[in-house]
Symmetry: C2
Subunit: 128 residues, 2 copies
């Protein structure tokens, strides 16, 4: 838990597969991307979703795509990492270029670099 | 895991106790604050620390205070929450008013509102 025993390149790849899975329209391709991005017993949570297990994460992604056809999730920051944790920001744009939403994800990775969980939040936390 | 079964006031209190523990100079008082803030089997991680267990979290806090006497950790945002997760930003100021560092925490809470983990990151993630 204390040491970074995971290759930065492995983490970069898992995060890239996570974004690719979100942007995938084909169910079979999405499943392949998800297997590269998440361990099986993983969890994804944001203010609108809480999916337990990689299959449920795939269903959540397919549902979001159905609601916002043509949307693209883009990583908008470097991957900030320490120990087995990662942070990065993202946004979602629609085919006409309009912004849908942005936010940040904080995740934990397994030894092979794949995501164990993603905790997503929208926007930035409101000032006190 | 899906439902919010925790009172907002309980979470607010646990987070307040977490900041108070960081700012406490007395070991006995810090321990009391920590018990109110964290469950026993909790974890705190930031780029410089990875403490497993509430006792280790207390030792980490005492160590940081020793390194930066008079420092004050302040919450600088509202507590953003969904499901069993929280996000907030913070900064650390020194007695002369100078800023030491700032960042964000993302945490998970137990049913009684106490923190199960804190994942801290410094500053904001660098743009791509």
């Amino acid at each position: 838990m204390t040491d970074i025993h995971t290759d930065a390149a492995q983490i970069e790849q898992a995060v890239a597969d996570y974004f690719a899975a979100f942007n995938e329209t084909d169910d079979v391709s999405r499943t392949a991307r998800l297997r590269a991005a998440f361990v099986e017993e993983s969890r994804y949570s944001d203010p609108l979703s809480d999916a337990a297990g990689r299959d449920a994460i795939g269903e959540m992604m397919a549902g979001v795509r159905q609601q916002y056809p043509g949307m693209e999730v883009r990583r908008t920051s470097a991957i900030d990492r320490h120990h087995d944790l990662v942070r990065f920001s993202w946004d979602i744009v629609m085919p006409d270029g309009s912004a849908l939403i942005d936010g940040i994800d904080v995740g934990r990775v397994a030894e092979d670099g794949r995501l164990v969980d993603i905790r997503g939040f929208f926007g930035v936390a409101a000032p006190v």
